[in-house]
Amino acid sequence: MAATDRIIVLPGDTIDPAVIPTPRRNAIRLGPGLRHVQATNSIVPTVAGQLITDHGKGSMWVESSTGHYIPAISDLVIGQITRSQGDYYLVNLSPYTPNATLPHLSFEAATKKTRPQLNPGALVYARVTLANRHMDPELECVSQTTGKGDGLGPLTGGMVFDVSLGMARRLLLSKPREYGGVAVLELLADEGLAFETAVGRNGKVWVGSDKSEANTRMVIAVGRALRETDERGLDVEAQKKLVRRIMKELSR
């Protein structure tokens, strides 16, 4: 996606009909931030942000970096256990919001006896299974269909870094470099750093590695690279420069 075709919309703007995709077979799909007004048969943005259109899939949505995470079904999130209550863990997804619930048995191969015992403050990587307005969201750490964890579950060690929600979304795209313009993690990995990441849609990125002396520095470096990319809005070229600088610092 080149910088030239960026369309910024504000709530109530009129969208140029030329950019609206016209799928041949089925109806157009509207993502978050857009609303169809029937009276005038037009599409109106409801939030400020960048308008993204996908002509292949016939969909469009508004990309914005909001301050507050609102859970949506099948989002991957990083939550912090607040406490255990009955058969559930109460999980905090973002500050100043109601807790989400995570059933004790909703882990890979968990039974009453083998379920993970999580203390308050522990981190889990989970998927949102229920997100209705005015209800506490529900989470799972296991796929209901396959019974596999697929990488979900408790996160041990490592460090979480806060990023903006937009950044988290871009990192979660199938090809972050091409679609989202975030190459920093790939670039760092190409330089030979071995680390794991888990990206939560709620604006949290967990970076982990095995425990050894050099790795603390590496995790800090990865975290700083992410935050700097996010806060200063670096493009891929600038990210390459940043990675080179960080690698130089690390080798010192």
């Binding site: 500050p95 403050g121 460090m159 002396e213 700083r224 610092e249």
Partner: protein
């Protein structure tokens, strides 16, 4: 009720592990401040100070009023702190939290009780008329080390402030507008600055300067030392927390003195820059020469 997020176990462990390896999350050495920025406003007495993401606005104002009955020869000097929901949703309006009470006490002790501002010079007619100088401190964003930033902001705002010139002739008090006479600075005696140490480890053996909010969450104790550049301690506050070795505390005081000298030089430079910026066409020099006569 809004709840502040406490750091997770992973974060706690990681921050401590990193500190044991002499590393901080933002790559600073233990005894280094984040980039300090100080911007004076268009008006006199308005200043915005930021330490990294911590941002504080201080505004000084003055009005004529009647002195307190028990102190007829002194003017009135107050520092008001405000941590509003703008800082974080857990701060409520008109319900001071512990953070706010301690911050306001520290500023009070550092700036007011140490006699940085000559309150006697604020009195115009004994028992009848005096200036009431008030500094409002607004915390715009909180990312740790509020005290040091707030103290710098208060001192900068007071030193930058100009109050209207006055004269008394035959019992008649005249207050001049800025057009008639150039406003005059407050009578300032010394500039105290706060330096806050945060302690980590079971024995509090690791000490950090200018901790960020996530570092503050993990600390086991803190000690705020206020000094001026002449090496006079104005206040020390280690309010509980894990006990720290006495010798280590003395060491902290010595480092604090160096930092205070840095702050002092920094503020002097900024004030000089601002004076230069305002002094367009040498008009101010001309006016002040007249006043000297």
């Amino acid at each position: 009720m809004p709840r502040e997020a406490e750091p997770s176990l992973n974060e706690r462990q990681f921050v401590l592990q990193a500190l044991r390896e002499n590393l901080r999350l933002d790559g600073r050495p233990f005894d280094k401040y984040r980039p300090v920025e100080l911007i004076f406003g268009e008006q006199y007495g308005v200043v915005e100070v930021s330490f990294g993401k911590t941002k504080i606005l201080a505004k000084t104002s003055a009005e004529l009023t009647v002195p307190y009955v028990d102190r007829p020869l002194d003017g009135i000097f107050t520092i008001a702190t405000e941590l509003s929901p703008m800082t974080a949703p857990s701060f409520e309006v008109n319900r001071p939290t512990e953070t706010e009470v301690l911050l306001s006490r520290l500023l009070e002790k550092t700036v007011r009780r140490s006699g940085a501002l000559d309150t006697e010079s604020l009195c115009l007619v004994a028992g009848q008329k005096c200036w009431s100088v008030r500094v409002d401190v607004h915390v715009l964003s909180h990312d740790g080390d509020l005290t040091d930033a707030a103290c710098l902001a208060v001192v900068a705002a007071l030193r930058h402030f100009r109050k209207p010139d006055t004269s008394i002739e035959g019992g008649l008090l005249t207050v001049y507008t800025p057009a008639e006479r150039e406003p005059v600075p407050l009578s300032w005696l010394h500039s105290p600055f706060c330096v806050t140490w945060s302690f980590y480890g079971d024995q509090g053996e690791m000490a950090l300067l200018d901790a960020t909010l996530s570092e503050e969450h993990v600390r086991v104790g803190s000690c705020t030392i206020s000094m001026n550049r002449h090496g006079e301690i104005c206040q020390i506050a280690k309010l509980g927390g894990t006990p720290v070795d006495a010798v280590a505390l003395l060491q902290c005081t010595n480092v604090a003195l160096v930092k205070v000298k840095d702050f002092s030089a920094f503020l002097d430079r900024k004030l000089a820059e601002d004076a230069k910026r305002r002094d367009k066409g040498g008009l101010m020099a001309e006016l002040s020469a007249e006043n000297d006569r």
